[in-house]
Symmetry: C2
Subunit: 298 residues, 2 copies
């Protein structure tokens, strides 16, 4: 499919893409640019088929596809380097979780002769690092590809084909809608989980009780989500301005929830709980999760 692919940043997502490329034979040669020595030795242990490069330099001027898998805060620096070496036929993509600001950034700084078509595979975990890399990470998961007004159609179709080959279900979205949707389905839930952990820690100090040992009743499940990589999530919270609106809506609902409880409004509370349960049914129907009940750790 490609002669030469370059993966910049090889953590959980980058290494999973690398493994998927190798497994599906999607590139004759795959280059990896990874700054962390620890990660490099982990990738070597994995015996992934790739060649390491130390910087974005003229040796890799003729790559066909660049996939940027670093935290988003590094994109600007990377763009400046890519501008100097890449040939016009190359496709650049990224896997960042917010899109409006990425598109703005690349439209401002990327050399006009180059094509960056942004991707967002909805896959991952609370763990990071190439030791968790998995060729099936993207299997049957959504991959959003960003559609701009002017965009190279041939390259877009090639990128769609690439994500499909590694198992994704592809959907095209404009960056503004992307950021709105994922502010609710992903960014707000993570922020809420982090906030719940802080609240539990504060309560533990106030109560002077080791309450976390009794966390099996709910706190446990949120703690997993709140264990996600902090640099990635800092970048997301700073780059999706819809998160403030999402927090405001959440707070408004929380205040009315509180009032219902304080007023012991039986009917309103039951209605609210029954309605909220419907999301679960939808999620299972939409195959976003399995119906199998969870009884805790095994």
């Amino acid at each position: 499919m490609f002669k030469k692919v370059l993966i910049i940043g090889c953590g959980l997502i980058g290494s999973s893409i690398l493994k998927a490329i190798n497994s599906k034979k999607l590139s004759k040669e795959t280059f990896v640019l990874e700054k962390s020595k620890k990660n490099i030795s982990k990738i070597k242990k994995n015996k992934s088929n790739c060649r390491f490069v130390k910087s974005i330099n003229s040796k890799i001027y003729d790559v066909d596809l660049v996939i940027i898998c670093t935290p988003m805060s590094q994109y600007k620096k990377i763009i400046e380097k890519l501008n100097k070496i890449l040939k016009a036929s190359c496709i650049i993509t990224d896997v960042g979780s917010t899109k409006k600001n990425i598109i703005k950034l690349k439209n401002k700084f990327l050399n006009k002769k180059l094509d960056w078509i942004s991707s967002h595979p909805i896959a991952g975990s609370e763990v990071s690092g190439p030791e968790y890399g998995n060729k099936n990470l993207f299997l049957n998961k959504w991959c959003v590809i960003i559609k701009e007004k002017r965009q190279n159609l041939k390259k877009t179709n090639l990128l769609i084909k690439f994500w499909k080959k590694i198992g994704s279900k592809v959907v095209l979205m404009n960056p503004v809608i992307h950021d709105k949707i994922f502010s609710i389905t992903s960014h707000l839930p993570h922020l809420i989980a982090y906030n719940l952990m802080k609240t539990a820690q504060d309560s533990q100090k106030i109560q002077r009780k080791n309450l976390i040992q009794y966390s099996a009743g709910g706190l446990r499940d949120f703690s997993r989500i709140a264990a996600s990589n902090e640099v990635m999530w800092r970048d997301i919270f700073f780059n999706n301005d819809n998160i403030i609106k999402a927090i405001n809506l959440f707070t408004k609902n929380l205040n009315s929830f509180k009032k219902i409880i304080q007023n012991k409004n039986n009917k309103k509370l039951l209605t609210r709980l029954i309605n909220s349960k419907k999301v679960r049914t939808q999620i299972v129907q939409l195959k976003q999760d399995v119906a199998k009940p969870d009884f805790g750790r095994e």
Copy 2:
């Protein structure tokens, strides 16, 4: 261990206790009082060894242990009936999730010659009903037994022994501390999950987009918790007055989280995310969850 046990309310928890009693041979005879015909036929399908009774009546005056597994809102009615028939040697317990109000209720209404020692097994799931009953539901899970100032020591010890035999780790707590701890580790997380579902539903209406289909990025995990039984959770939210304090602390933290994002305070945000991640490490160390990462549905 007992001659006759009576289980009142035989959903997920009641049927799991029934199966555990049968499996460990903890009672010569076990009676089940269950109002739902559907549930009765499910229990019969399970082939659990038990005898069904239709009401609290003189036929079961000589039971040694009564375990109340109904929603808490039914306790008062049950107490009035138990008062009329039970003999003084009996132990009454319940599995309710809040304790201060239960203790108040039983101290006000239960016949003084009877002993009610309250239990709270920290086990369950988002599903309800006897079809999910499991003899191992309590295995290695906490069971809180409520300690009051005046309490029959012999009966308390027998109840401790009972929960240990069906696999629980027992801890004694006073009802006020119980309610404080579980307002944070269980009740607040559930309320937050319900609130997140409502916020997603509201956003879906505002955005006019089917965003729930992209819920794999975080919403999915909360939806499971927000699928729990509404009657049980109404009773919990109405009966644990610490929940209001917990909501207030959560809101305070959420407001400061919002400000950190709005001010793009890099250092404060990273510190907050890193600190919140520590809860996960503690939870895994305390064996409340396994460390195995989650990559979504299989």
